[in-house]
Amino acid sequence: MTLSMQLPGAETTRDVVIEIGGLPIDVQTTDAEFERILKGRYRDYIKPGPSSGFSLDVQVINPETFDPDADAEVWMEGREWRMERGDFRARWNPAERSGQVQQSANPYSIDSVLRIVHTLMLAPEGGFLLHASSAVRNGKAFLFSGVSEAGKTTMARLAPPDAALLTDEASYVRKVDGRYFAYGTPFAGEFGEPGKNISAPIAALYFLAKGPDNRIDPVDSGSAIQRLLRNILFFAHQPEMVRQVFHAACAFVAAVPVYQLTFFPDQRVWELIG
């Protein structure tokens, strides 16, 4: 028989390993309610067992302010990234692959911290998060990018049954062995559903525009890079980070076909995709 007891006042650390884009982050908390929130929101992205990768220690507090719509500020201090918004305060040490977060027990703050930390991890290897919906069809990934109201969520809603939706909000792009892959993310927009946790090589990036009919037009490299840079999620504006993102965008455009997709919002647009 095994006996165990917990000392009064001792808190149990709970580990929830959230793996997005093949990068597992062990989110640690002593708060049972927050653990429940994590397990619900990231249910399709939770990896069993402890992570040997990255860790985030979340301290659940009652902050004086709560404003998840405020702009996040991200800056470098010493060897650490610092990030702050109206609803959280966090730090991330890339060398130690670990960080700390202070926030209340809500899903919005940790969602933003995860997005920021992933952009920081991806940039040095030429990857990024992109304002784009994306889907896998016939083993190939297609990205649909554009400003707000351009049609990202509409493309996701119109997707046929044989297309697996990766996200309607923030596409996850990684360069693996010289090829670009899109990964599913739990980062949902208006669609409200997490993407499917799969990945596929990227066949094309489309910049969206609504129009009277469906048409695909080529985009020259210079315009493609400029438009891509406008849509990459880009929280940290340190010169080295800006440089990495710029070169990542250039390399992506050199490797992946980029088009403008003008579309009338009905299912027929998907006849052009795949």
Partner: protein, 102 residues
């Protein structure tokens, strides 16, 4: 020709990429993007801190394009002035030692 020479140095606070004849430049200070056409690219590539603008214009612009020296130099002055205003190029009236140049 100019009474005072101009020497151009590319800022260290930029990232750039040549695409065909054009060059895309991004300021790492404010993320502003500039696109230079082939003439702008020719001047940008020659901005080494040691070559005067008048020589760059004669060798890289007038030799390649049908334009008079005066017209080309006036346009080039305006162009480099705009780049300098945005901080992606600096202009001096004397050659810049290599260590100070990018």
């Amino acid at each position: 020709m100019p009474s005072t020479e101009m020497y151009l140095t590319q800022s260290a606070d930029i990232a750039s990429r040549t695409l065909g004849d054009d060059t895309l430049i991004m300021s790492t200070l404010d993320s502003t993007i500039f696109v230079l056409n082939s003439v702008g690219t020719a001047i940008w590539n020659a901005a080494d801190g040691a070559t005067p603008l008048s020589r760059i214009v004669q060798e890289r612009v007038c030799a390649e394009y049908e334009v008079t020296d005066e017209e080309a130099f006036a346009d080039a002055r305006e162009f480099v002035g705009q780049l300098a205003e945005h901080g992606i190029l600096s202009i001096s009236d004397a050659p810049v030692p290599p260590l100070e140049a990018k």
